[in-house]
Symmetry: C2
Subunit: 449 residues, 2 copies
Amino acid sequence: MTRELHLNLFINGRGHHEAAWRHEHATGKALTDLSYYRELALAAEAAKLDSIFFADHVALGEDQEHTARGELEPLTLLGALAALTERIGLIATASTTYSEPYNLARQFASLDHLSGGRIGWNIVTSWAPAAAANFGQERQAGIDQRYERANEFVEVVSKLWDSWAKDAIVDDRASGTYAHSDRIGRAEHRGKHFGVAGALNIPRSPQGRPVFVQAGASTDGRAFAARYAEAIFTAHLQKESAIAFYADIKTQGRTVGRRPDQIVILPGISAAIGSTEAEAQRVWDELNELSHPSVGLARLSNRFGGHDFSHLKLDQVLSVDDFPDPSQVQASRSRSQSITALVARERPTLRGLLHSLAGARGHFTATGTPEQIADVIEDWFVSGAADGFNVMPPILPSQFELFTGEVVPLLRKRGLFRSEYRDGTLRERLGLDSVPSRFDPASPLQRTA
Amino acid sequence: MTRELHLNLFINGRGHHEAAWRHEHATGKALTDLSYYRELALAAEAAKLDSIFFADHVALGEDQEHTARGELEPLTLLGALAALTERIGLIATASTTYSEPYNLARQFASLDHLSGGRIGWNIVTSWAPAAAANFGQERQAGIDQRYERANEFVEVVSKLWDSWAKDAIVDDRASGTYAHSDRIGRAEHRGKHFGVAGALNIPRSPQGRPVFVQAGASTDGRAFAARYAEAIFTAHLQKESAIAFYADIKTQGRTVGRRPDQIVILPGISAAIGSTEAEAQRVWDELNELSHPSVGLARLSNRFGGHDFSHLKLDQVLSVDDFPDPSQVQASRSRSQSITALVARERPTLRGLLHSLAGARGHFTATGTPEQIADVIEDWFVSGAADGFNVMPPILPSQFELFTGEVVPLLRKRGLFRSEYRDGTLRERLGLDSVPSRFDPASPLQRTA
């Protein structure tokens, strides 16, 4: 079987560049306007993309003055988009750090029903220091504790999603038997962080559970991904680091007994597309021109757990000594490591660094004609850097229109990307195995209910 | 100004009678099928009802064998229905007992944006013993503690919903100012149950916040309702008790400084409608015939905090001595009081009691022709028993089709009910004042941000 390229549209504000909201080719709609998201979702569906994705945060981000903040909550938004689309996958972030497993399990099961099996869950731990303060906590938990809780969280919700057999409901009006209660089982979990009795009060959903997506890339994050993730969003500034990550994850997956094709790796790509390379470059120049240094600086500080960079000058050449040791950072550790590696390698000015991070917050940026962008995608795909991409247009919807209108047809011509959807769930589209049920006699999970 | 009658459709399974799922005139669709809810919502919208409503529970109910269980989670479902409808209000239950204020505030704000200001929140405390076990707790909290937490919860989410001024977002591309950060304020709450810093990461929604709906009728519940509720769903087996409740709530509301018209009282009515009284009565007879005694008995036990009634015989005449003292019940206290009052008054057999509760779980049931049902509605409305009704058809969709097709036109003819929607939010439709903002100089909440 030939490998199939997977494409996910990551919808973020008016585009992934931090200044996109000001650009003349960005949408004029409010970030709280459903019609904006409906149009993007329908455009992605028309282009036969695998899925769309919304990130999430449980605190208001830094610098509301100069950044477009205040988007919709993803799970309620996915409910709306499930009703407005028919085929495309719908993925949302939800945090294991500040949610209750029973509540989140219900919402994802419900979304999977509403969408007919098109839902994915990007499993995150909340690293932003501001988030803890919204949940009654003095300080954020350290990375170890967050992943310990995340592991147990996934264990609990998995039991809940597995608490109804597929055939539990018989709905026999004549006999008065609605369900076989011996095909509905308790979830029985009593751990360090959670105690849940179950069963869930929602029947097994079309996919069994949402597709597990993951994006953490620290040591803990990778171990978690190797164990649970079925799709991975990952940020790399260079192909080499993507290749190393890809090999590491597939190897770690094998070590815990998983087949490599059961972990679909999707690096982010933020492509500025133009009819010439110069026109494409102009997109970045225009966006950088519109950037406000305070936004990038606040974001940089956030990445390093609140470290103060305000004494640095914009035209100052940076060295790694200007940064705290990433291994001590309790926030987004992999992202801070990748930033200090870039500083060591390229010795940029502060302004240069902020520009290179403004594009897509540490994800790979590409610049060029549709042909050149298709080349990059094909190259990464065949070089063992990617199973597909997390498409992060710098400006929405204009740069996504160029991607679907110009790049996707080239990928099709090269035999890399589908022309039509086949029937099936998101899980099936991604080539993932079905989720075992403890009620299935053939399942390794089978036990007396 | 003439008073306006308000009508809400309460959507519950295949109808409110516990055996409705077996009835030949009930829908054949699964309870997880969005198209079923879409059709009901569109029918209610076509009939110009104020709103539709979904209850919620955070545990699987008793007796899955003989009852239709396993519905969708209401907030994700409301997301879908917000996208599929245009005018009708959308109300969902969410618990203050097992949710985090920051999470719930975000989801309701998001829904209010998605729907253009059509959202209501039925604020509940979770009384079911089984719920606690899904949230790591040995036993459910007592009624006092639950309301203490509920009061603080509403205080916190109200601060969060008030953390953005209406005009906080300026979205000025030319100057680079997206928002006035001095028009976004912290929510700063540090109480017994919650600590929240804020601000919310979603801008102020069209209604400011969801309409506050409430259904608890215990002493604590009424005090809570008088303070916060803008619409009340309430269960009465007789008009007299509805009149007493109505007077009590409006008086209590006045005592805490609220205008009576700012609390819209909607008793439940479960009407079996037929072209003759005999035909209507047949609906109940058929449904009771389809009832399974174990279902009613399990529900009765649940209402009395898990009390064991299994030693009672179906044809035994009951007395209040067969029941525990309702004032000691830590579950649904008002409902258990109303049941023992009925037993004292009517001395039914156990079978008779179960039948009278099977209809609509302690809500008022009516039986008759469309004319007779319209008479009841008009009578309660003009007698100070109701500002409108929570319509609970015993069988869905058939009995709701009779209600919209036969009863609603009569209410229109009598000048009681609207023929068209006026523009505006759900809040405006219910005649409720707008929600003050601390950023409004005229507001009593105004303070320096």
